[in-house]
């Protein structure tokens, strides 16, 4: 092996691999092992039961909607934080991370209180005929709350490093604001947006604490997959719990793999050698 400037590659590689194995791979392996012990027929029966499928539907659709909302709002927030100087900017910048710091159950209870029929937001929305708490809409609100920081924090540094001369060059070449955004800024943000989207979506799929308070948890309607897994655990049906959780796991894994591929494609231009 070539000598490195920093010593200790073998040691650090060993420690990190051991750690990843212990903390990440081992529990996931146990999960897959438990689910696999079911046998294909039982496994399929459990993961394709009507109640489970309904939970996937509400989880995935809500997560998609929440991610789409965060994509637009998170990018706008990152844009404002980077491009404008206004009083309170640093405070808002700090607040963005709050959903990470707040225990999700606290967030869930707070959101439920706000969006309940008699809550501050809920009472206003009720007049407009919109019900948020105890509906799939509530799930989306909880998901977009807990996953907001991802897109802001992935886009922000890229936006900060974006050379203002690129926009000026596009302007001198006659580009309208819309054309500059679509052809210059957005393509350069795409890798960061994809990273943020995949994290945000994965987090939304697995979110539990914030959602169960606001969702109402009606089987077939507002019951998320993570809750269904939890219910099976409480019934001591560990194999069924593992089977359902494995579906979430596979979904998250496939989705992360796809976004990684898309990211590699979007970053083609950084390759040093001729593509």
């Amino acid at each position: 092996m070539r000598r490195r400037v920093l010593p200790g590659l073998t040691l650090s590689l060993g420690i990190t691999l051991f750690y990843v194995g212990l903390i990440v791979v081992l529990p996931l392996g146990a999960l897959v092992f438990k689910a696999a012990s079911l046998g294909p027929e039982d496994y399929w029966r459990i993961v394709s039961s009507a109640r489970a499928v309904a939970s996937y539907r509400v989880t995935v659709l809500s997560a998609l909607a929440a991610t789409a909302f965060n994509l637009v709002f998170g990018m706008a927030l990152a844009w404002v934080l980077v491009r404008y100087r206004f009083p309170g900017r640093r405070l808002i910048d700090a607040i963005v991370d709050l959903p990470f710091a707040l225990p999700t159950a606290v967030a869930g209870i707070a959101l439920t209180t706000l969006f309940a029929q008699n809550g501050w937001f809920g009472s206003v929305l009720a007049e407009a005929g919109i019900k948020v708490a105890y509906t799939p809409l509530g799930i989306m609100v909880a998901m977009s709350f807990t996953s907001l920081p991802f897109i802001v924090r992935t886009v922000q540094p890229v936006l900060e490093d974006l050379d203002p001369a690129l926009e000026e060059a596009a302007q001198t070449l006659g580009g309208s604001d819309g054309a500059i955004f679509m052809r210059v800024i957005l393509p350069l943000l795409t890798p960061a947006l994809l990273a943020g989207v995949s994290l945000s979506f994965a987090r939304s799929l697995g979110e539990f604490g914030a959602i169960i308070f606001i969702a109402g948890n009606q089987p077939m309607e507002t019951e998320i997959t993570a809750l269904l897994t939890f219910i099976r655990l409480e019934e001591y049906d560990y194999q069924a719990a593992a089977a359902i959780a494995s579906v979430l796991l596979i979904t998250a894994f496939v989705m992360l793999a796809i976004t990684n591929l898309m990211q590699a494609r979007a970053l083609r231009y950084t390759e040093k050698t001729r593509a």
Partner: protein, 343 residues
């Protein structure tokens, strides 16, 4: 396209970057804005482009007042110091960008033909499919120029175009830019802090200091007749010696220079190292050699005059001198300026 700046002013917060600059640039002329950093040269260029708004005064393109025309409609080609190529587009796509976003619709074939033509002009025929990260700095700057030329700008503006490049690449690109300018005849204004670059490339040099034009003229005019100590110093190495003027003669200990038109009193004499000679015998200004630096084309003698002032001389390689030698500095040519705050 003729460009005229009429008493243009720009202030950033409380700092006045450009003080009432007026300048005429003839159609097809290649003009250099030369000055140290902070002299306002880039700000002037950016105002001509429309990337900065003038706080006062007017900028005319031909007969049209362009002061309030937004940058995207001004029809200028701008080349940035650090190229500002779009990293996610190939060289060809970069060049085609202006045509793609233009209000004038062109067919795909027209655009491709134009890109190929420009790639040929900048001598990068085979690199249209590369990304900017895959080509060298000099090649990137040529792509940036091709991109700026693609939309047939009325005026070409270059901001320190060769500042980020190696010395020999810079020299080649300079000559090449001159050729392109002669071929296309487009009015060109470029900014530089490198006097050699300005003198090498430009038809006319505009020297700026602290937001004002100090002197403008052909390279010959500004070199032969610098109008101030600042210009004299900025255009090349210069020694300054204190002198006393009396009866139209400037006296430096041991030498006397013509100083007609100067009032009696203190004055500064500026001397290029090459306009001085070293001699072991009088006449001349008595001095002691402190160091000799040998160069391929001659020797540079660093000396201290009897009056305690530092002098540098560029002398032929045959000249005999060694640190500690006593001798005399002979003056072939010098310029006298009235004593001023700037040195």
């Amino acid at each position: 396209m003729k460009i005229r700046l009429d008493n243009v002013v720009k202030t950033f917060d409380t700092f006045r970057a450009v003080h009432g600059v007026s300048l005429d640039i003839a159609s097809g002329e290649l003009v250099a804005l030369l000055g140290p950093s902070g002299s306002g040269k880039t700000t002037i260029l950016r105002m001509v482009a429309g990337l900065e708004y003038a706080d006062g005064g007017h900028i005319y393109f031909g007969e049209q007042d362009a002061t309030d025309i937004p940058v995207r409609d001004r029809g200028v080609g701008f080349v940035f110091q650090h190229y500002a190529l779009f990293p996610h587009m190939t060289v060809g796509e970069n060049i085609a960008f202006g045509m793609k976003v233009s209000k004038v619709k062109r067919s795909k074939q027209q655009m491709e033909a134009r890109v190929a033509e420009l790639l040929r002009l900048v001598k990068l025929d085979n690199l249209g499919g590369r990304f900017p990260s895959q080509i060298s700095g000099g090649q990137r700057q040529r792509v940036a120029l091709a991109r700026a030329l693609a939309v047939d700008p009325k005026v070409l503006l270059l901001d320190e175009p060769f500042g980020a490049l190696d010395a020999n690449v810079r020299r080649d690109l300079r000559r090449w830019l001159r050729e392109i300018h002669e071929e296309l005849g487009i009015t060109t204004l470029f900014v530089t802090h490198d006097q050699e670059e300005a003198l090498d490339l430009a038809d006319r040099v505009v020297i700026l200091n602290e937001g004002k034009i100090v002197q403008e003229g052909t390279p010959e005019a500004v070199c032969r007749n610098p109008n101030s100590a600042f210009v004299m110093n900025f255009l090349g190495d210069a020694n300054r010696l204190g002198a006393t003027v009396a009866n139209g003669k400037a006296e430096i200990g041991g030498a006397s220079l013509e100083a007609a038109g100067f009032g009696d009193g203190a004055a500064s004499v500026y001397l290029r190292p090459r306009d001085l000679d070293w001699s072991a015998t009088e006449p001349g200004i008595a001095a002691t050699v402190t160091r000799v630096i040998d160069k391929p084309d001659g020797r540079r003698i660093l000396a201290r005059t009897a009056g305690g002032e530092q002098v540098e001389l560029d002398v032929p390689p045959e000249t005999v001198a060694r640190a500690g030698d006593q001798g005399f500095v002979r003056i072939h040519r010098a310029r006298v300026f009235a004593e001023s705050a700037s040195n």
